[in-house]
Point group: D3
Chain length 160, copies 6
C-alpha cells in the first residue's frame, strides 16, 4: 500500500463537496438533493463506480461544472467516492440533504479552499483517507477577532 496526494483541480475556487457513497443511484439522488435545495442550482456531480464497469458516472445542470467534476473524480479514481462542484450557491444550502441521501456514507469536506486528497493505493484499488482543506492554523483569535467574526456573520445575515 502506498500513499499519494491528489490536488483537486479547482481553478476558480468554487465550492465543492467530497464524499463517499455506495451505489450508482448516488448520481441521481445527489442531483435531486441539489435541485430540491436550490431553485436553479448550477452544479456538476461525478461518482466513481467501484465494481462492474468502474466508470465515472456523472450528471448536473452546468456543462463546465460537470466536466470539472468528471475530471476530478477521475483523478481521484477512489471507489465509491463522489464530488460535487457548485456555483451561485453554497454547500450549507444542501449539505444536510446530501448527508441524508440514503446511500451516502460520509462527507470528507465541503469547501472553497484548496484541497489535497490523501489516497491509499493498492493493487486492488484506491481509497480516500482524508483531506487537507485549506491552511494550517496561525494562532488563536483575540477578543477583537471574535467580535469581527460575530459581526461578519450578522452583517451577511446568517445570525441576528
Amino acid at each position: 500500500m502506498e500513499l499519494i496526494t491528489v490536488t483537486i483541480d479547482n481553478p476558480d475556487g468554487l465550492n465543492l463537496i467530497l464524499g463517499h457513497s455506495h451505489f450508482i443511484k448516488t448520481v441521481e439522488d445527489v442531483f435531486e438533493a441539489m435541485v430540491n435545495g436550490v431553485a436553479g442550482a448550477k452544479f456538476g456531480i461525478a461518482f466513481c463506480e467501484a465494481s462492474d464497469k468502474c466508470l465515472v458516472r456523472y450528471t448536473g445542470t452546468d456543462p463546465e461544472l460537470i466536466e470539472l467534476a468528471q475530471k476530478n473524480a477521475y483523478a481521484l479514481s477512489a471507489g465509491h467516492s463522489f464530488i460535487v462542484f457548485m456555483k451561485d450557491m453554497f454547500p450549507i444550502n444542501v449539505l444536510n440533504a446530501i448527508k441524508a441521501v440514503p446511500e451516502v456514507c460520509r462527507i470528507f469536506c465541503a469547501t472553497a479552499n484548496p484541497v489535497e486528497v490523501i489516497i491509499a493505493r493498492t493493487e486492488q484499488g484506491r481509497g480516500i483517507l482524508g483531506v487537507i482543506d485549506g491552511f494550517a492554523s496561525r494562532g488563536i483569535e483575540t477578543k477583537e477577532d471574535m467580535e469581527a467574526r460575530k459581526g461578519l456573520l450578522r452583517a451577511i445575515g446568517y445570525k441576528q
Copy 2:
C-alpha cells in the same frame, strides 16, 4: 505509528457496513435500527469496545453472519469501530437509520465490494484511516453507459 492494510474477509460478497461509534450501547442500538428497518432482517454486528475489557461485542439474528462480523471486527481491532454483515437486504434499507443512531460517529463504507481497510497502529491502539472500496475508475461513462445506468435503476424499480 505504522500503517497496515487489513482485507475484509467476506467470501460470499455479502453487503457490509463499516463505521465508528462511541459506546457499547452501539451493539443494541444498531441491532434495533436493523430490525426496525427490515422485517426478518438477517445480520450480524460486532463492535470493538475501546476501553475497560476491550472485547469485541456482538449480536445479530443469524449465527453465520454474527461469526463473520466477530472475525472481521477482531481482525480490525480498531477501538470504537463496528461492522455489520447482512443477507437478503441492502445497506440502503438501513443506512440512514444507522447514521442516526445517537452514538454513531461516521460510516466508512457500505458495500458488497472487496474492501481493504487502512489502519494506523501505535503502541496505544489501532484506528481506521479509510477504506479501499472496490476498484479504481477505468474511464468516464459515455452517453450509452448513462442510458444503461438510468435504465437499470428503473428496471430494478428504484426510480420511475
Copy 3:
C-alpha cells in the same frame, strides 16, 4: 506529504467530540446544538479556520474547557476541524444535533478514551486522516460478558 501523530491533551479524561466542518459559523452553531441539548451544558469548542486569518475560533460556557479546546485545536491545526470538550454530560446527549448542524461534514470520534490523531502534513496545510480511539481489542465477549454488558446498560438506565 508526511504523517504525524498528535496526542489529544485531555488530563482528566473528559468526553470530547472531534469533527470536520466548513465555515466559521460552526462555532456558533455547535454552541447552539450544545445548549439546546443540555440545560446548563459545560463545554468549550474550538474550530480551525482554514482560510483568510486561519485562526483557532472558539466559544463555550466554561473557561477551562474553552482553554482545553483551544490548545488541542491549535495542536491539530487541521483546516476546518473542530473539537468540543464537555463536562457533566455525554456525547450521546448532543451528537445527533451536532451531526445535523448544516455545515458539519463528519465526526471522527466522540470519546473519553485517550485519542491519537493521525494527521497528514504538506506544504499547504494539515488534515486529519483518522483517530486511534482507546485501545485495541483483546478478545471476543463470552456469554457472561454479554450478560454483564446488557445488565450494565439496564442498571444505568439506558435500556429497559
Copy 4:
C-alpha cells in the same frame, strides 16, 4: 364549514400511512422512500393534487394496493393529503424516510387499525383535522400487562 367523518376502506386490515404534503412530486418521492426502505416493497400511493387539475395522483408496485390508495384518497378528497397502503412490510420500516421527504409536512397516522378521518368541508375544499386511529382506552396496564408487553417486543425480535 362543516365537519364530516370518512371511514377508511381497508377490508384486509392492511397497514397504511396517511399524511399531508405540498407538491405532486410527493408521488415519486414517497415511492422512492418505500423502495429504498424495503427491497421488493408492495404498496400503492395516492396523493390529492390541490390546484390546477386537482387529480388523485398515484403510483406503486401492486395494482390492488394502488387501487385501494386511489379509492381512499378520492373519498378523502383533502387537498395535499396522501395515503399509502402496504403489504408484507410495516410502517416502521419506512416512516422516518417518509417524514424526511422534503415536501412532506406531517403524518396523521400509521396504522393497521380501523381509521375514521375527521374532515372539514367548505365551499373552497376539504382538509383533514385528525383521525380516530383504533379504539379508546379501556384501562391502565398492570405489572403483568407490562411484563407481557416487554416480553412480546423481545419475542418478536424488536428489543433484546
Copy 5:
C-alpha cells in the same frame, strides 16, 4: 368551544409554511433555517407567543413579507403557531430544515394555494385543528395525466 375558519390573507399567492412550535426562540431558529437554506432568501416569519406577553413575534429579510406574516399570525392568534411567507424560493428548499428546528412540533401545510385554517376557540385561547389547502379532488389521473405529470417534473428539472 367553538370552531372558526380563518382565511389566510395571501393576495399574491405566495408560498407559505404554517406550523406549531414551542418557544420564542422559534423566530430566530426558523430565520436561520431559511438563510442557511437559500442564499439571499426573501421571507417574513411571525410566531404567536402563547404565554407571558402573548405577542406576535417576528423577523425576516423583506418588510412586506414580514408584514404579511404578522397580519396573518395575528389573525390566527393561535398559541405557539408560526407562519412564514417567502418569495423567489420554494418551501421544498427549506422544509426539512424547518422540520428539524429543535423546538418545531409539526407543520400544518406548505403551499401557495388558498388556505383556510380551522381554529378551535375557547375561553382560554385558540388552536389550529387543520387546514383546507387548495381544492377538493375532481377525479383520478389517467395514463395521459400521469405521463404529463412525470414529464413536467423532468422538464422543470426535479427528476431525471
Copy 6:
C-alpha cells in the same frame, strides 16, 4: 361524531410533549430518546394502545410523573396518542430525538402552558384534532419587545 375538550391536568405547570405514534414499542423508544438526550432525565410517559387490550401503556424514571402521564393519557383515551411529562429539563432537549423515533407520526405540542385538547369522539373511538396551547395573541411586538426578546435568549445562553 362529537367534539369534546379535555383539559390537561398539569398542576405544577410542568413541560409536556403530546404526540401520535403507531405501536406499543413507542413506550420503550420514547424512554430511550429521553435518557439518551438527558443524563438523569426525570419523566413519565404514557401511550394509548389502540387495539387488542387498548391499555394505557407507561414507563419513566419518576413515579409522580409516570402517574401524571397515565392519568392524562387515560383522560384523552385517544388511540395511538402519547404524552410525556418532564422535570428539570426542557422539551427542546429531546424533541428532535422524539420526532425521529421510527414509529412517531407527529407532535401536537411541547409546552408548559395550560393545554386544552380538542378530541373527536365516535362510536369507534377517540382522536386528537388539535390543541389550544396557552393563550391567544394580544398584539404585535414593538422594537422594544424585540430587543427584550433577543436579550433574553442571549442572557439565558441560547444565543450568542
